[in-house]
């Protein structure tokens, strides 16, 4: 068994994931990361190490015209050759606002819907150590406490990221307890995934959006990380290690320290008992998670929300760029403005 596949099954075991009798959806964009994950999972399936129903799911966000369609066609053909079931979703992404975020949301909506329909226990994505390092830096740059510096979790409930539409997620489409699992996150680098595809004789697609430094993540990958690499050649692993140290701290500090939040809501009583100095950071972190960015958030916004927390006379709503925060039933709720078509 090749090293990459062995490392994957070792991680699968470590994460206590099931080996049979279940369905799993693999998100496949066509890039090296997700293709290597699909190939390695399929390899484990053919070797009967994993007896799960594998379904590859691709979301065509139509952002790059023919290129997007070619990505879809590539994944369709690859899954056809492998004999893996294939699900495709298509959608037009709002190009107003944060395009990256809109695309990400539409993709996760599709993955969650697919997993729900198929009664899958989990959606797998091909995030690597590199993505983790980039996430840590993104959060550091936008301003974040321990939570943001923890980066992505290897396993979490799918749905938490959808705090933009609390009504939809909580009422229209109840979560079927689906996991989001990133089985490459803790050990594979982008170099590993590309090498595994190459060694497998399988091409992968290259996303031209990865070159567009208008996107903050691309700037971090193309400009910031190479600079940091000059100072520390192991910067990727170093940042990923920082993320796991931070996760340990965040997990151990528990709800008495951290404000509990189900994503869209923030518990007012929790916010009231923490030291005042931390309150603004907590609110900021939470809004960052809800909005996908803290861009355009100003001190006056945070202060208005703090008044909402401490004063019974401060009204019920604070308007923010792109949305608002509502005080209701002992919680703060973030509601995003709907983009008009």
């Amino acid at each position: 068994m090749r090293r990459f596949v062995r490392d994957l099954i070792t991680e699968w075991r470590r994460l206590k994931m099931p080996f049979e009798g279940q369905t799993v959806v693999i998100g496949v964009s066509g890039g090296a990361d997700s293709v290597s994950l699909l190939l390695a999972m399929h390899d484990l399936w053919t070797k009967q190490k994993i007896r799960l129903r594998l379904v590859a799911a691709h979301f065509n966000h139509k952002l790059r015209g023919e290129e997007s369609d070619a990505d879809e066609e590539f994944v369709r053909q690859l899954t056809g050759r492998l004999g893996v079931e294939f699900a495709v979703g298509r959608g037009s992404i709002q190009t107003a606002g944060n395009v990256e975020q809109n695309a990400r949301r539409a993709r996760y909506d599709f993955l969650r819907e697919t997993a729900t329909k198929l009664d899958a226990f989990a959606v797998l994505t091909g995030h690597t150590i590199n993505d983790q390092a980039e996430t840590v830096l993104m959060n550091l740059v936008r301003g974040s406490g321990p939570d943001g510096l923890s980066g992505m979790r290897t396993v979490r409930q799918l749905g938490e990221e959808h705090c933009s539409q609390p009504d939809k997620t909580s009422e229209m489409l109840p979560f079927a307890n689906i996991l989001l699992v990133r089985p490459l996150l803790s050990w594979a680098t982008r170099i590993n995934t590309e090498a595994f595809c190459n060694d497998s004789g399988i091409e992968y697609r290259y996303d031209t959006m990865n070159e567009d430094t208008a996107f903050k993540r691309v700037r971090i990958r193309k400009i910031l990380l190479p600079l940091l690499e000059d100072m520390n050649p192991n910067i990727i692993e170093t940042l990923a290690n920082t993320a796991s140290l931070m996760q340990a701290v965040v997990d151990s500090s528990g709800t008495s320290k951290y404000v509990s939040s189900n994503g869209s809501d923030l518990n007012l009583n929790d916010l009231r008992v923490i030291p005042e100095a931390e309150r603004s950071g907590q609110i900021r972190d939470w809004l960052g998670r809800c909005r996908g960015t803290t861009r355009q958030l100003q001190l006056k916004h945070i202060q208005a929300i703090e008044r909402l927390v401490v004063s019974p006379k401060s009204g019920r709503t604070v308007e923010l760029p792109g949305g608002k925060v509502v005080k209701s039933a002992g919680r703060l709720i973030y509601e995003e403005n709907r983009v008009e078509n």
Copy 2:
């Protein structure tokens, strides 16, 4: 009273520092940060807001020949004009090894000795928000958990940084409980300190070593931070805020979570009870603090120290580049190799 002076006395009060009957040593390099601190403290003294004996202390590290002597002369003349007592130390810094670190150690040795002789309650330094942001980035790049990302503390015991010479610090020169206080750290930017000097009609010295990108801190200041500023114009304040959020977490997690360390020593029992996954990070962080860097530290070194922790048969010593770790009396002790002259 000018804004800068008002902010300083507000911080002095917040930190619960004494207002009379004591001696305080102010470290003055001649740069804008320390000169502004000296000027503002002196202003509070002339206005009788603070009735402390002020002593300016300058360490001439002789690293830049005539320039270093001119710095000394500048501080001497400035203190003379202000009528503030002046203490000077001179030393030749080891140019082998980490020059920055050697210079820093010699400077703190001098400041501590001066404070001890004068029976001062504290040494003040002119570190600003900018220094805090740089420290967070330095630690992030070299690899650090929550502790390193907490940056500098506004108030701490002086002496903790001297883990290179545990024998000397613990036996030859017992600490007289002297505080290291950074009264500008939480609110003043470099721009503030320069403006305050300019508004006071006082020149300040410019350290040409601040231009030498051979020093990691200078690379961070001159190259990394401007790049991050493109992504977040408030990056300095953002990083300083991250540091204080991290401090709150580190403080709240207490010794049950964090390995207690007096700088040079690490408690073995503490290390044994934390999860294995965190042990290597804790050891690495500790060595980073002791050595001033994690450079040249390899995985095999950390692993050898972990064996020292868990196995009674693993010997007493692990050799590291530039020093060694010794297991003794239930603790790990870091001892730096002495540089030969």
